[in-house]
Assembly symmetry: C2
Homo-oligomer: 407 residues x 2
């Protein structure tokens, strides 16, 4: 007998009708002869509503209490889902994280799973029940309720799929799968049938909203096959799988565009050893994540240092940069928000040459200037002016012929 | 250092403003030098909304899942209350029933508390924290979440007050205390300063909504002093206490009116031994609670049996009565809903004579006919036509001079 793990996000269980539909999928998998574990998120906007309520009584709510509050959203969903499965004629039982021993560390609002005790789930599966588990939550050693942070339900699903050796971990969402580019921006974007964990990790880090990076890391480490698919139709979605040799034949798997970046430049810094380390050390100590870094060619022993940060961190990053001026002797701090980051991702980049040239040529052909470049083994990102973003995305997508299925 | 238990009902924590006000009371008690435990119900109409949601996915939701769903209401309240206390500058920690070992039996939706482990509460109190506990809920031996039924938060409060030997268990509600009659019906109804457990039990059974009967039984058994008071002002409310000798001087403590009754009559039943037992046995077996019973004087060996049931159970009671006709040989079943039950309650009735006469005379003076009578040691109830209910209530309230403070 197979074991299927199904995870339904908030939009897939937003109301009674959608809960019934999701329950229908679980029942169908059960009647096809599988053991079924369902992981559920909080309904629709409930989490945001609860956060709003918390803000009405506290400007800075204690994180332990925030977890106590938010974990109720998933608990409601599992109870309703179990009821819906009963209505459809199968037996079901719901569990909060605490009830199945999802033990985490004590970092409230962003806890990490340490251990899962599958005894009770196995017992329920053996009794023929569909097991419904609250995503996003656990308990620490002292039975304080914890939550796993944004996208935590994906992590719960992958962790359970791993511990219980599921055949597949199905992630039901409101899109059909992972695309070669955001279909809202690129009309001929194509759904990707199979993608490697590493590529998916890069895409997630680049702002693809499909799955959270942490759950993909988890899946990679334990070799969990993920199937991202729509909760609104029966189409095959995208499988996220272990890298296979033939995958290298595909040079570029997808193109990602992010507009959440901002650029900070420190002008006229002395170009001497240790300066870059000082700057980056200060940012790291301040908790600001620096993404791309460019140091211009030195003239007269003076250089400009530019780097990008998450746009939400710009005010904080400017303050840190300003504080560095006095120490380093630069002449000023500038920043810009009208930038975009365009990236190509593909494990085939490792074995193919000329990928960067092809991307740069495509951008040059539509007169888009490149401000900054950064590369990793399977990714190439450029910073461009925001106003050219969509045009550049389309040009690069076309240059790599991503609208056509791979050979 | 004293220990105060405070319980806030749903209307007292319905929104952020009310939560802040309730938190303010806890903080005030803390700063007056007490250890403080707060028990909280679900916000306003949340429980009803969740029940409604459950009905949308299931006509007859499994009770275990119902408990899983409904218990989230109280959990949200405790988290928000703890946040509010923090905002006011005191330390607080919230607990779900499971976290402080409120162990119950497994009768979902109406579980009974078996044991409470106060260790974690005492630890938190010793650390100077205000302890916020979710009312209405516990866990059974297998960590399934259970709920205690209607008014269950009162029971949680009284149980904790008992286990931790609190000086007082304050029940905050939307009324000022317990009155000699419903103040919405009797304009000169007077707030009762002190009332015995037994009187309060009778009043609760008669439909006074202030507290659930089970929590008062609990308080009586363990001698917990209850103070019912308003969450909207600082007035002294009503103390529910152990009976004291001087209480017997008050003949009648209060008058209660209930319109939730219905009358069923089985016509022309043979008047022979065992018939009444057969009828009552059948009702008991069907789960219909019969309240008052009257058997008319027999004529020609034939009699009418009348009894009252809760109005919501009338359709079921009629069916049971109909099924009895065949067995007993009666001629028909009649029922009426236009009745009301008027009751006087007072432990002084035990030691004073003439109480019934005084009540009947008051009713006769306003031309109200009595259909049925039932008495207990400290209670006297009559069934009258519903249309005379308010007039009769006022007359009886006046006859016992309940508007005047006791001597």
């Amino acid at each position: 007998m197979g074991l299927t793990v199904q995870k339904f996000g908030g939009s897939s269980v937003a109301d009674a009708e959608r809960i019934m539909r999701a329950a229908g999928r679980a029942v169908k998998a059960k009647r096809a002869g599988n053991n079924v574990i369902v992981i559920v998120s909080a309904r629709g906007d409930l989490t945001d509503e609860l956060i709003d309520l918390a803000k009405q009584v506290s400007e800075d709510p204690p994180r332990r209490e925030m977890d106590m509050l938010l974990s109720t959203g998933e608990q409601q969903s599992v109870a309703l889902m179990a009821m819906a499965v009963h209505t459809l004629g199968e037996d079901a039982i719901s569990f909060a994280g605490a009830q199945i021993g999802i033990v985490t560390d004590s970092f409230h609002t962003k806890a990490k799973i340490r251990n899962i005790d599958p005894t009770r789930i196995i017992e329920a599966l053996d009794q023929g029940k569909i097991v419904i588990v609250a995503g996003f939550q656990g308990v620490d050693e002292n039975f304080n309720i914890t939550t796993l942070g944004r996208g935590g339900s994906d992590t719960t699903a992958v962790a359970l799929a791993s511990v219980l050796k599921a055949d597949v971990c199905e992630i039901y969402t409101d899109v059909d799968g992972v695309y070669t580019a955001d279909p809202r921006r690129v009309s001929d974007a194509r759904k990707i049938a199979r993608i490697s964990y590493d590529e998916m990790l890069e895409l997630a880090a680049l702002g693809a909203q499909v799955m959270q990076a942490r759950s993909i890391e988890f899946a990679k480490r334990y070799g969990v096959t993920i199937h991202v698919r729509s909760s609104f139709n029966d189409n095959e979605g995208t499988y996220i799988v272990r890298e296979a040799p033939e995958m290298e034949d595909i040079v570029v798997s997808g193109v990602a565009l992010s507009k959440n970046e901002a650029k900070v430049t420190i002008r006229a810094v002395p170009d001497k050893p240790g300066v870059a380390a000082t700057i980056m050390g200060r940012f790291a100590a301040s908790g600001v994540n620096v993404d791309m870094i460019v140091q211009n060619t030195s003239a007269d022993g003076i250089t400009d240092m530019s780097f990008t940060v998450d746009r939400s961190e710009l005010p904080h990053a400017r303050k840190v940069a300003q504080s560095l001026l006095a120490d380093l002797g630069g002449t000023g701090v500038e920043s810009a928000e009208d930038i975009a980051k365009l990236s190509i991702v593909g494990i085939g980049m490792r074995s193919h040459t000329g990928v960067a040239e092809k991307m740069f040529a495509a951008l040059a052909a539509v007169d888009v200037n490149i401000n900054m470049i950064s590369t990793s083994e399977i990714k190439l990102s450029v910073i461009i002016d925001a106003k050219y973003a969509d045009e550049a995305l389309a040009a690069v997508h076309a240059a790599f012929e991503l609208n056509k299925p791979p050979a």
